[in-house]
Structures are given as C-alpha cells and as structure tokens.
Subunit: 314 residues, 2 copies
Amino acid sequence: MRIVALAGGIGGARFLRGLLHTAPEADITVVGNTGDDISLFGLRICPDLDTVMYTLGGGINEEQGWGRADETFTLREELAAYEVGPSWFTLGDRDFATHIVRTQMLDAGYPLSAVTEALCDRWRPGVRLLPMTDDRVETHVVIEDDAGKRAVHFQEWWVRLHAGTPAQSIAAVGAEDAKPAPGVLEAIEAADLVVLPPSNPVVSIGTILAVPGIRAAVAAKTVVGVSPIIGGAPVRGMADACLTAIGVETSARAVAAHYGPDLLDGWLVDTADGATAGDLDGIAVRARPLLMTDLEATADIARAALDLAGELRP
Amino acid sequence: MRIVALAGGIGGARFLRGLLHTAPEADITVVGNTGDDISLFGLRICPDLDTVMYTLGGGINEEQGWGRADETFTLREELAAYEVGPSWFTLGDRDFATHIVRTQMLDAGYPLSAVTEALCDRWRPGVRLLPMTDDRVETHVVIEDDAGKRAVHFQEWWVRLHAGTPAQSIAAVGAEDAKPAPGVLEAIEAADLVVLPPSNPVVSIGTILAVPGIRAAVAAKTVVGVSPIIGGAPVRGMADACLTAIGVETSARAVAAHYGPDLLDGWLVDTADGATAGDLDGIAVRARPLLMTDLEATADIARAALDLAGELRP
C-alpha cells in the first residue's frame, strides 16, 4: 500500500510512528511543511522536517517532542556570551550539527529535497521524507501590540510570543510562486491513500496545501484526516490561535468543514466529540480515542484511519 | 609606549601574554596572520587570531595551546555521524560558536577586521587585535606523494599530514593583491617598536610581511625579534619543515639572516645558541633563556626584547 502523509511537527511525527507500527510494509511518503523554516545564526533550520526525521529515526527528545535526545547547550551558552541572539529559539549542540550540514549543502547549491534525503541517510526514518517545496515559503503572522502592527515570522509569534498576541492574519509568503518539490506530486498521484495526521490545519497542513498543485493532487485521492482538536481544544500547541485567525471555530467538526468535502473523504474525531460530530456533507466521520498516549494507542489511531480509508476507497 | 607585534598562533600568543605582563601600560597592537584561515563546514575559521584572542582573553586550553578550555566535542561527533568531514581538523563546541558568529558577520558584509573587533568585545584581550588583511590570503603548500604533485591548503599539510610530506614550496596565495587591514599601517607607523614574537618565520610572520606595504612599514621602525629556533630546532610546531622548504637552515642565526638587517635591528637567541650567535651584520644579537616555561619566564623574555629595543632605538 502506498500512503502519502502531509505532516507538520510533533503531532504529525508521532502519528507517523503509529502508522509505521501498524503498517510496517506500507510505502510511506511524508510531505513536510517548510513554512516554519527559519534562518538563525546564518544556519537554515527546518523544525518540522527535523521533528519528523528525529522522531522516526530514534533521535528525538521524547518528553519535549522536538529537538534531540541527550542534548547539550554549549553553543547556546557561548552565543549568549557573545551577546549574539536570538535567545528565544532553543538550539542544542546536536541539533546545531544538523543545521550546519544542511546549510553547507544548501550553500553548495543542493535543493532542500536533496539535503533532506542526505540527512535521512543517517536517520533512516523508514519513510521517504520530502519537503513540500524546494522554494522559499515563509509563514508570516500579522500582529498588533505596543510595538505597532507588523508581520513577524511564524516562529517569532509561536515560540517567542507563545501566540499570546492574537494573529490578525496568517500568510504563507512565497507559496503562490512555489513549486512542489521533486517527487511530491508523483507520490500523491501514485498513492492509494493520503492521510492528514493531527497536525496544525492552518500553519502545517494548510501551508502544504497552499503550494500550487498539491491541493488538487490530494483532492483527487482518498483522503482521511485525524482531528487535532479534541473536546474543542488542540491536544498540544496553539492551533486554536491559528484557527481563530482564519475565522474557523476550534472544533473537530469545523476543521473538517474547513478542509472541505472536496479534499476530505474521511475524518476521525475523538470519542469526546463523537456525539456532536455526525457525518458531514460528503465526509464520513468516525469517533475513536485520539489521544496519542503511547505507541499502541497511536498505532490504533493510524489503523482506524487505514480502516476508514478501506471503507471509502473506490 | 606603543608596540606592534606580528603574531602567528601559539608561540606568538604566549609571548604576548608575557609582554602584557611585563608592560601592562603599553599600547599594544597585534597584527595577526590570516594565511592559515580555512573554511570548514561552511564556517570561516581563523586559527591564529583565535589563539591570540583566547590566550589573552583567558579562554585558551592551556595544555594544548589552542582551542577552548573546558571544551566538549558534541558537534564533531554529530558531524561524524552524518559522515560529513573533514575529521582531521578538530573543532570543539565552544570554538564552533566563535566560527558561527564570525561567519554570520562576514556573510552580512562585515570585514574580518570588524568581526575580530566584535569578537574581542567579549574576550577583552588587552591588546588591539587586527588581522593582517581583510582580503583572502591562503597559504598553500606544494607537496608530492603517492597522490601526485599538488598544492594543498596549509592546514591540510600541517594538521592532516603533520608536515610529514616535505613541502616543495610554500606560497601565500592572494598576498600580492591584498591590502593591509584598516589600522595596520597606521599602528606600525605610530609604533615606538615592532616586535617579532617566536612565531613561525615562514608561514606566520613571513605571511604577514608578504602583504604589500607591511614589510616596508615595519622595516622603517626599531624591530626586535625573538628566535623561535632553540638549539637548531623549533620549540614546538614544525617550523623546520617550513624553513627547509624555503631553503633556510633551521638555526637562530639563519632565521635572523632570513629576516635580514633591513628589517631586523635586534634579535634574541636562546643561551644555548649564544656561543654561535654573535652579532650579525646590522643586527644586534643577545642571548637569553627563551623557553616560555611559565608566565614569569615569558615576561622576562618580553622584557629582554624591550630592553634591547631601548638600546637600539634612535
């Protein structure tokens, strides 16, 4: 079975681990969000791709969900001693090495997709990991506070401001001129199934779908999504702040409606939301326990998504 | 008193510590060699400038003479896990931070002299540290071995091959088109004295003097040098391999003659070489214990250089 998953960071990566566990023989291509990417200290950082790579490759900090296990922070300390910032984006020594290797390859002219493949030669995540695009797409958030109204990089809003200042709008700058990375459309076209893990519907999956060609290719497939909203709140992260910015209610049902029946065929909601979920026009809804408390529970969710796809596939 | 010192790495840095100790009120400008600089992992590394900066700023690994104290090697381990080399040039985590800051500033368009000044804001070395030039000068060494005759970067010959393959020639590529960094000629012209510490006469001091304008400016001053050769051998490092490459005998006397009386006014040799040294045509020679065994011994050597300069100054 050929599966394509569109993934953001922590939620997507954890779901993928369950998917690999329940479908070890599947041929899985992950299309990763790169709208969160940022250049800091002259280095190119791809938080979502790295979270998927580290999680599936066994290098993730399990408690935290991002960054490396057994991490140290000597460089961070030294950069602070040089008074070189920003200090609000935490980078560990092991993580720095990834960004150094990536930046060196990008500077040498390799596209991000080739760089990601090279990094995965080490991590062997068990999936084919592709960035959504090799072009520069950057998620910007318009906020207004004492410093006035301005657009900031997504990471500044998310990590530095903890999404505490309401987003007036969110834009994937550069997306409209971006091309899907080599292999992305081909993988979607060849897929038996496209899965939308419980990633952020706005700044993760929404950004991937904003790259011209991807949404249409996905919509032509059997698509099953897993709600990132349980009981009216994101399980982790601040997806509610993103949904509010684009005028979507923070509920499992509203997220499905936002994706729309042209895109989505099946939708898994948590049992807590089962009563109010019901089928949506053109979207089959099933209620299952969606908390990814451990690998078994996560594999069960992935299995439920595959089962629902099995029902729906033409 | 205004003093200019031309310095390479370890020998120069240690001598400078003695000079600062014996002449704490002196206004000292250090012109550092940048011919050893190398780009690795996409980062710009200036070994000699850093050795001076770390040594005088209290951050040096004392036993080793280069690199940072309390160093860790997590990045090195990670880069090896990515199979990204070279592995023969040892960079510690703390040291990496310096190169990251430097590279980011260079990429932003700052000249190396401005970057060095910014790094010294942290280290406060007690001297004004200037690179010999802001232009790219790279010391290359022509060698011949099983892989054929070829020019390699100085660091590859020195660090990777331990200067074990004889150098057929040594060239400071780019030197003839380089301009002294801002402040270098001005500092030399304003100096009461120019000191040549016991640095490598070929690839450290020789390279600095190869930047057009520097040698003539230095020659116009009272110049006292300290022999890096004691008893016919370099105290540390492999200066003999460099001297042989340019056809100069490895002796205190031959090095002085190589600098020449047009450049050098006074020359300190070790007491071990006192008997054979004598005055050279136009160069006053004094024999003193030259082993920099500790700070006191080093300060005595620096004091002897200042005393000799006092005798010679017009």
